[in-house]
Symmetry: C2
Subunit: 422 residues, 2 copies
């Protein structure tokens, strides 16, 4: 339910009471206790790097000491390392509406995107146009340009809202519509089923970048009829820094999809050591080389948190948190305009406000123990990580933002240096 912008602002005390009540009653209120976060820190950057699940250090220690140190090479069989990219893929798939057998994990989001761009274009030979959002995360655009150069494609820019019009005009030329469900800056969602249908209506494929979606939205790839999707595991899934990303290929495409990175792990019979490439006849053909097992198994363990969680419940929790964040921002810092919509149903797992001093604001918040992030040129991005963030965190974060602005801390020269990494 979107907050009513015309209502009387709630007082700080009222917001705190509301947060406490939601944290007491929300059905998944027990999830944050499954994570370790430094005492007193208000961490609103889980959409950049999710927090550490409490049980993961022991799980990683087991991987290192026992599986690697004692099992050695036999662990590729005995511990199921070889099959882990599919097994972990299925666990992620459950959170994005993918039935088993359609997701693998292993490489970075960037590598998986390149695999998909080339593979998608090859599934629609004769069509030379790929439609992409010019405001997508840069790596998507970089890799799509590279794929387009290799395959002689035209990348035609269109914001999601303009895609149907473009398809109506030029649909017969379009091989692929490649979009992100959630805008990495503003948090705005687009309509995955409608845009997938629009692509299909033109005979094109739909590729979804779900980096900011998985764990935050209720995207349902199978129900939407999506063709390909790629996503990140180190944000809302809390899989660890640089946790391997994942790629989805709808079952109907798995015997025809023809990716460019034909590494030996995608071979039908890798240990035949055959110099001729014969692709596996299922989603394994998206595998490339030997995946980083310590990172991959840290992600595997991190996913244990979701075993007893219905994905729809996780979305409800995310929406509750995002809704409170929007309300608190409107009530407490009304002078900072929202960069995206105010209705949590139209948002993913983060909210951004605009400020000409955005970088200084983020630095000043950090000095107060509130971690958000800056996106050039003018965004203060506040992340809601459904499993780890509490309603109280969000109210305290927004009240800290008020205090920063009131004290002028955001224009303190100590906070005015641009970071190289956020």
């Amino acid at each position: 339910m979107p907050p009513d912008a015309t209502a009387t602002p709630t007082s700080p005390a009222g917001l705190r009471r509301l947060a406490a009540s939601l944290d007491e009653h929300e059905p998944l209120r027990h999830l944050p206790s499954r994570y370790l976060l430094p005492e007193g820190l208000v961490y609103l950057d889980g959409n950049s790097l999710g927090a550490l699940p409490r049980h993961v250090p022991d799980a990683v220690a087991d991987v290192v000491r026992r599986q690697w140190g004692e099992g050695l090479v036999a662990s590729w069989n005995d511990e199921g390392w070889w099959q882990a990219p599919q097994r972990v893929g299925d666990r992620v798939g459950r959170l994005v509406g993918a039935a088993p057998g359609q997701v693998v994990v292993g490489d970075s989001t960037s590598v998986h995107l390149f695999q998909c761009y080339v593979a998608a274009a090859r599934l629609r030979p004769g069509r030379r146009v790929v439609v992409a959002d010019p405001d997508a995360f840069p790596t998507d655009l970089h890799l799509l340009s590279s794929a387009a150069r290799l395959l002689d494609l035209d990348v035609v820019p269109a914001r999601p809202a303009d895609v149907p019009t473009l398809l109506a005009a030029r649909g017969a030329e379009v091989a692929l519509v490649a979009l992100s469900e959630v805008d990495y800056r503003t948090g705005e969602r687009c309509d995955v089923p409608a845009l997938t249908s629009a692509a299909h209506g033109a005979g094109a494929l739909a590729l979804w970048d779900l980096a900011h979606s998985v764990g935050a939205t209720d995207v349902d790839l199978d129900a939407a009829g999506a063709d390909l999707a790629v996503g990140c595991s180190y944000k809302h899934l809390c899989g660890g820094p640089g946790a391997p990303a994942w790629v989805y290929v709808a079952s109907r495409h798995q015997r025809s999809v023809d990716p460019p990175l034909t590494g030996w792990h995608g071979h039908a019979d890798p240990f035949a050591m055959d110099g001729r490439y014969e692709a596996a006849d299922d989603v394994r053909r998206m595998r490339i080389g030997t995946p980083p097992m310590v990172s991959l198994l840290a992600l595997d363990a991190a996913l244990d948190v979701f075993d007893d969680v219905e994905p729809s419940r996780l979305r409800e929790r995310s929406t509750s948190l995002v809704g409170l964040l929007v309300r608190a921002l409107r009530d407490v810092v009304p002078e900072l305009p929202l960069a995206g919509p105010g209705d949590p149903a139209l948002l993913g797992g983060h909210v951004a406000v605009r400020s000409p001093d955005a970088y200084g604001v983020v630095r000043a918040l950090a000095a107060r123990g509130v971690v958000g992030d800056f996106r050039a040129p003018d965004l203060v991005r506040l992340g809601v990580c459904a499993p780890t963030t509490t309603h109280a965190d969000l109210v305290e974060g927004v009240l800290a933002l008020r205090a920063v602005l009131d004290a002028g801390e955001h224009v303190d020269p100590a906070h005015a240096v641009r970071s190289t990494v956020t």
Copy 2:
């Protein structure tokens, strides 16, 4: 010094005395104590997955608990995560004769190979031939075929010994000579400086796959004038299962090399979030997406072992071990022919013998606590990992092989099932 095949075979007791003497006097004899290996196991598969360095579990625990769990997103700056691919790359580079600033780590060997194949061909526009060893590790051939398909190249097969003749005949057409220094099956080395010079003499580039070299041979990329190289970190470097691989680009090519996987980590200014790709002006342009930091930092820690080790000394140790292994095989199991040369100077870090019952032999050895590996159709491959293997390991392994053959354990039906993973 190659063993003399005509000399009287040394007795088991004599081989054990020799091994004990070498293990007492070899200058790097202290290295194996830096690793954890199960008591009583003779591990001759470090060329597949290297053993666990003793200090790595604590280092990984620090990465997980403190850097990720407490530092959270700030660790990208505060712990130097963002720069780690170059920093760790330089540490690997020292072991392959690469001056700093020419190596990055981050993706799998397969992904790095694809980057290099396409990038190399683009550095020699107008030349359409790529020369590759038809007996190379399959992933090399698969990815080269894929790159060739995208760029309309011809892959011309040639064994390393035949490359100079091919270059003499067709050199003007050749863009790239892509070879492995060490044959993954037989252990045979080829001459990196001579073949690199031959490629350059024809105006072509040389790309070296050093998966089985780093930590085992004295390859010197800068001295050889190599153009590009790729290698593995989970074999002789003991970086952990699926540890990120590495890629070398000679300084002179770094401003012109044009790889296909243009991920945002390779951008000149990644946090400008610019939709136009502008490559970094150094080896960073080989970076792609967010690397798997837990695996990458496990590798970083594993490399500490080599900080006080001269690379030339490591090669001397490897040669001493390989020499003893060859001698023991010839003396103890003379009926099993070596698959490669007998001179350790011409070998990398493993030795293979042929047997029609190779798979059964490997299984029966494993039942006796000696881990080697099988390579289809008829190779028993015994790995020497210079930092972790002792001379005594090799003699005990070969004596166990004798015992297996004498007892007929290799033809026991219990050992006759083909593994899916070795």
